[in-house]
């Protein structure tokens, strides 16, 4: 393909706490009090979610999944923000937040049904305070805004009780930032001073469209027009993502209103397993971003600065192999639903006319398979 010369927004002062080389740096607004053990735990998170992701891609190639939307390159943005949540906070993902799901203790296999085609999601959003994946881009930002309205009505902000004060974290992409829904969510959150953090993973691409198609200004700057703070964070730096999200979630819980976080990152893989990025972007781009890998820098820090023993990395690797096996075997074992189940949960109480359709359908399916 022809090399596409891109006008990338000049990088403003993006919050970074761990350089690509693995050096800890400080930021005056976002101090992070974290032990090396805690950083090691983040490393484990990053490795395991990358493993889940690469297994899912393999399963798609083998025909076990119909599709997969890979998080490769975005692990730090998702683990950093996901680990900033408290149990009683609520997260609203897109379709790519497998790393956030992991932080919410959602079993990896739970995510697979939708991509395998055995269900449309099918998990209880309130069981782990992790909403269903939402495929219509941007729609979930309004759901998150409404949830935050509920939080305020319930008096669960600004009480000073850390067990009670609640924040909402809404994920969306750079492409979705153009949708009316997202902008309406900003308006409502701003006007209502709602306890919500909008977390935009700017992975530079919306399928084939570079972020410059969506915006004339860096995305985080849009927040100003809606009346709340916006900040850009190095989305490949798990520590910075953790610190920045933690602080803004705290602000939300303390009744200081919404914020927008733009995690500056890169979608290393195709948009989904259906996509062919060679048609629209230069491979050299990914090569450059590889040098900013979210996992390598943590490993470099742990090895050089924290002097973590090789046994630790070996143990994480062993666990990652187990995870791979778990995902592989578990995916293949997900049963197909029965045909009649298409009538389940269309309504709380199945209307009689649908009951009749179901019966006809069931007996027809039986008659042709007999």
């Amino acid at each position: 393909m022809t090399e596409h010369v891109r006008a990338v927004h000049p990088e403003p002062n993006m919050v970074q706490l761990l350089t690509p080389e693995g050096q800890r740096v400080e930021h005056p607004d976002y101090p992070l009090d974290i032990t090396d053990d805690e950083i090691a735990a983040l490393y484990r998170d990053l490795v395991l979610v990358r493993r889940i992701d690469s297994e899912a891609i393999a399963l798609q190639r083998q025909g076990e999944l119909g599709l997969w939307a890979s998080l490769l390159g975005q692990e730090a943005a998702q683990i950093g923000s996901g680990r900033a949540l408290k149990r009683h906070d609520m997260a609203f993902p897109t379709y790519r937040e497998h790393g956030v799901a992991w932080c919410r203790d959602v079993d990896a296999l739970t995510l697979l049904g939708l991509y395998r085609g055995t269900n449309l999601g099918g998990w209880d959003p309130l069981a782990n305070n992790f909403n269903l994946y939402t495929i219509v881009i941007g729609a979930q930002t309004l759901h998150a805004t409404g949830y935050a309205m509920g939080v305020v009505r319930d008096g669960a902000v600004g009480t000073g009780d850390p067990e009670r004060d609640t924040a909402v974290l809404a994920f969306f992409g750079d492409g979705a930032s153009s949708q009316g829904d997202v902008n309406e969510a900003f308006v409502w959150a701003g006007a209502g001073n709602l306890p919500i953090v909008f977390f935009c993973q700017n992975n530079q691409w919306a399928i084939s469209e570079p972020v410059e198609r969506q915006s004339r200004v860096p995305l985080f700057q849009r927040a100003a027009g809606f009346g709340f703070p916006g900040v850009r964070v190095d989305g490949n730096d798990v520590l910075a993502c953790l610190a920045v999200t933690r602080k803004h979630l705290d602000n939300a819980r303390n009744a200081q209103g919404p914020s927008l976080i733009e995690a500056f990152t890169y979608r290393m893989n195709p948009h989904t397993t259906n996509d062919d990025p060679r048609r629209y972007r230069a491979l050299s781009e990914a090569e450059t971003w590889k040098l900013k890998d979210p996992i390598e820098r943590v490993r470099a820090y742990l090895t050089r600065e924290a002097r973590v023993e090789p046994e630790f990395f070996a143990a994480v690797e062993a666990e990652s192999l187990e995870m791979a096996e778990y995902v592989r075997a578990g995916c293949r074992a997900i049963p197909d639903p029965t045909p009649e189940s298409v009538f389940d949960n269309v309504y709380v109480d199945l209307p009689d006319e649908l009951r009749e359709q179901r019966e006809e359908f069931a007996s027809f399916v039986k008659s042709v398979s007999a």
Partner: protein, 339 residues
Amino acid sequence: MSDISSANPAVSSAPLGGPVTMARALNEGLRQAMEDDPKVVIMGEDVGRLGGVFRITDGLQKDFGEDRVIDTPLAESAIIGTAVGLALRGYRPVCEIQFDGFVFPGFDQIVSQVAKIHNRAAGLVRMPITIRIPFGGGIGAIEHHSESPETYFAHTPGLRVVSCSSPSDAYWMIQEAIASDDPVVFFEPKRQYHAAKLPIEPAGTPLDQARVVRPGRDVTVVAYGPTVATALTAAETLKVDGVEAEVIDLRSMSPLDMPTLLDSVRRTGRMVIVHEAPQSFGIGSEIAARVTEQAFYSLEAPVLRVTGFDTPYPPSRLEHDWLPNLDRLLDAVDRIMEF
């Protein structure tokens, strides 16, 4: 009855050489429309550099430039809403909605604006906007990628709603849609995009005419878009049992070509309508009602509908049972013949 002869005279220009897929036919039809009229602009998500996720606009940005093939910001309401403004300014926008299930953020602009502006302006302005929507299921996709939302649009006065079922129709109909001074919602059966290579006929059929694609005397099977192929296969199978099915490709869901439908059902006395959209309040329901009103004494049996069920589109592992497949269509024809 509707006067179908006056609207949309078939566009005529040299068709392509050899057989092509429907995807290629649409691409060439769009290309031809852009060459014929410099006011035609294409807009949508990923339509430019990528050529669309289905590659229907492949190469058009390269050949016509970024001004005429526009990769828009990701907002369907804006894709349609700005098309209205462009139309006011004399352009003929062709909007691509990436998948059926993503038209709804633009629904308000379509039904409250695009459909009504000509009427609101007492006929003084026209809205020559084409809205292309890949639709239908059977491709193993996730939610929102397999739906058949045509009824919502057919229920909206002011919109023409059509679907192609063959490469030749795709080639001609897309040009007719773009040439139409009414807004056209153009449904493309995505499962057929690459199904077969077929020749392009020397001329098209007017946009709002149905077509008998296989004559027969015993039963009329009405289909459009992806179900035309199912209906033709069924007709082949039925022939073995001595049942001659007449297959009508509806082509236009709104307006309906009642003369063609009535002429057929008056001869066969039986009609089965097959579409992927859910059954209730669907295109099939409207046709059944009109046939009952206008050809009651010709009917040997109630009009039957073979459709998707009245549920959300199911997870892909169940879609082949849920869709109006060959078995279900044959079963319906058996029932109507035995009535």
